[in-house]
Symmetry: C2
Amino acid sequence: MLFSTLRSSLRRFSSSAICADRAVVYAQNGDPSQVLRVITYPNIPQPPPNSVKVEFLLSPINPADINVVEGVYPTKPTTEDALALSEDQQLFFVGGNEGLGRVVTLGPGVNSLAVGDWIIMTKQQAGTWATSRNVSVNDVLKVPGFEYVTEVQAATLTVNPPTAYNMLSEFIALKPGDWVIQNGANSAVGQAVIQIAAARGLKTINFIRDRSVPDLEQLVQKLKGLGATYVLTYDQLADKSLRNKIKEWTASKPIRLGLNCVGGKDTTAMARLLGNDAHLVSYGAMAKQPLSLPISLFIFKNLTSHGFWQSRWYTQRSLSEREILMSNLVDLMKAKKLDTPDHDIVTITAAESDEQATEKIQETLKAMSSGRRGRKILLKLESS
Amino acid sequence: MLFSTLRSSLRRFSSSAICADRAVVYAQNGDPSQVLRVITYPNIPQPPPNSVKVEFLLSPINPADINVVEGVYPTKPTTEDALALSEDQQLFFVGGNEGLGRVVTLGPGVNSLAVGDWIIMTKQQAGTWATSRNVSVNDVLKVPGFEYVTEVQAATLTVNPPTAYNMLSEFIALKPGDWVIQNGANSAVGQAVIQIAAARGLKTINFIRDRSVPDLEQLVQKLKGLGATYVLTYDQLADKSLRNKIKEWTASKPIRLGLNCVGGKDTTAMARLLGNDAHLVSYGAMAKQPLSLPISLFIFKNLTSHGFWQSRWYTQRSLSEREILMSNLVDLMKAKKLDTPDHDIVTITAAESDEQATEKIQETLKAMSSGRRGRKILLKLESS
């Protein structure tokens, strides 16, 4: 429904030469470094009622976006949000789930947003790797206090910081001085966990891969700078003496929240460090291995194992809850307690041809899937 | 505290020849078929204040009891509940956690119980493999409506039926017509799950080992007779076509409760049959393998994995909650909706010597640990 007006209009204009808008699209699922291409298409029309036209300022390329393009992610773009650019009706899906847009035109009946407002998408897989789109007001959230945050902060506000924020509050009530343990601590979510936990007075024990960066000590210091209480490698996790060390650090206070984005044996070892009545929350599976836990942890230590998926959270919560969440996160950013992880911005200028742009996108995706981690990639598609 | 009076009195009478009481005991942890022995000891004294003397009518030998004797179970008998029979102060731990006692003498100040009442132990590992003991009124529950239930029903009321009852009600609110899936369906808990679920109008899909009994078809019919909707083997669980069959059976209604006492790959396969927002509750680990689950089930299907341990339930709930639970179970038994699993009673008569009795106990334990399953063992220690 959302883009049906756009679609029919695009069909009408398909042979026109009025070129201005651009998107990163794919016609079928596959390896992103093969199937993604950049196309230019006619300017989109005026927004229909209760919609606004937004210009995307910056759109992250997240690991999950790769899975969507591959066709292996549970949420998929709808054909309604796809572009039909030619007479043969072939549909092009626009990549991208997260993104920061600036409102440029209001459709009839819109009074909740103003021109110049910054918005982020709450609709899943609507396609944010584009210069502009018309979007329904129901599918976006205005970034509260957007004048206080950077473009990068706002563009990455929808997925990682809320995942961290909600995992720290939805499963167990933690008080200042309580402990949280996590793996993948150098991921974007992991870094947000460290910062949000520190802002709340929670202490964190953080695990990282010892081969994740050339200079391990530098990374440890960086995470400590963000507020991490302890930073350890998975090698140290495998060492049985760690249990006693942790008892000392925590003064035997049971750790009741564990956050996991890895899986496999390192996560099993981490789960053993949890105390009675603890919650293990999984939000990723970087090791591509199952979560394997001794049943005794469940029966005798009353462990509960959950998953967390921010996408589901958005679909289940009210608009006001979503607004409160954003507002809490922006407040943390304004207070300099929550910053974005290291990132690179891939800019595609208006001067580059579709072919050049396609090559740049494919190279970027190739580099991402070959395992460059720790740095977030954002896409800036400049309009002409 | 509980048996301190008993202990000092036993010390006093240790060289006496007034023999009447007997117990199955062990001096140190180890293989039950080696370390258990039957001893005769002087009659226990009059019960102290707020205690009653009970005569045990029937005491189950549960698989967990074996783990306790081996020393690998999280709850252990206290030295206060142990017997000190000789001058050298060596302590003998009395085996048995569950058991049906009949009140034979009231201690001073007891008005909540009457002579002739049937009681079951709520204190863990107090030692029920004995002819008689003094027990605190705080550590027992009167079997409500005991005139309507058999000795076997009452003796097995504390562990398995409440485990089944609570797992069906504590994790998710199920309505008549809803589906439950479980493995180990022929275990004592599994059979109770089938019956309690049927009494509530819940439908069950039950998995059993195809080698668990010589006549598989007979077992299937038996479980169906108890109220099982479907009974399948783990081999059938491994077959991918089962998913479609189950969709047909359930008319695609999501299964939101899974009960596990096995672990390993069969449990992984069973978990995949659960719908969105389901709860997997583990209460046993017969396969002695971890619970291994794809992280995607947690993240994208919102699976929650819990453990259940009836012992913890007792320690966390009020007396009135415990009484209501017992009363609900006895009501089901009175209504012929919940019966005991197949069982054998091992009787040790007063005429048998301690040596003969010891041999019988050790043989029984040897048979149990060599894997005879599906039949519950109860111990009847006759007093002289």
